[in-house]
Symmetry: C2
Subunit: 141 residues, 2 copies
């Protein structure tokens, strides 16, 4: 494949589908989110609402940062903080019809990208790992 064809390939086959993506729901507590992140082992995951629309990203660090008191970490506050108040609502997104080139441009600054369809429904994620595997395959051919 030429580089031109490679960059214009659709992303659809490379997406990790939503049912395989760990996430939290709007309204969940920071304590619940901490448990999900710890058990799944991911450092950052999407926040969805009840209609499976993408609302933000939540990381371990946003949680610990929210409870860093003046002289001690205020862990007792975790069950009173909602993910809504600490998540990053500015999410790097792709549309399911976007091409590989757009994914490549965005992953320079994001470990993974959220993918939505034309109804803004969350359909999955594109990770740096998957993109790097494709780049390696292309370069070695």
């Amino acid at each position: 494949t030429s580089s031109r064809e490679f960059l214009e390939a659709p992303i659809a086959d490379l997406i990790i589908p939503s049912d395989k993506v760990a996430h939290v729901q709007l309204g969940n507590s920071a304590e619940h989110a901490l448990l999900v992140l710890t058990k799944t082992g991911y450092s950052s995951i999407p926040v969805l609402d009840m209609d499976y629309r993408l609302q933000g990203l939540l990381s371990m660090r946003m949680i610990t940062e929210s409870i860093l008191g003046l002289d001690h970490i205020e862990f007792e506050k975790l069950d009173t903080i909602k993910v809504n108040d600490i998540m990053d609502a500015d999410v790097a997104m792709l549309n399911i019809n976007d091409k590989f080139q757009k994914a490549l441009d965005l992953v320079i600054n994001h470990a993974f990208l959220c993918v939505v369809d034309d109804d803004s429904t969350f359909v999955g994620i594109m990770t740096r790992r998957v993109i790097l595997k494709q780049l390696k395959k292309h370069i070695y051919q």
Copy 2:
């Protein structure tokens, strides 16, 4: 540049030098490590000893996992746990003289790679971000 030349390029210019890399020291408490990770914003960082030798990697998740009690998160234990006991001692490493191809192969499964010299001294890290920027440049030329 041909793909062959690109893959055989030395990694030296692409390394983030050790003085720019956030890290913790062997013997530090999990509480101290949690503060470093929260303040620097990195999800995983190297653990070094007093001679700047690489000892392991430490992530937020290793910390929270270590205090997940049966019915509540045991935050009070944080100052009694040492990074030595919870870090991942199996670190993906490069030698400063390695070529880009080896870095590309390893970052498929690691967000960053630690780089050491022939004395096993930690000299810096190679990140997926830097590698992706190089791949993008190569593909667009």
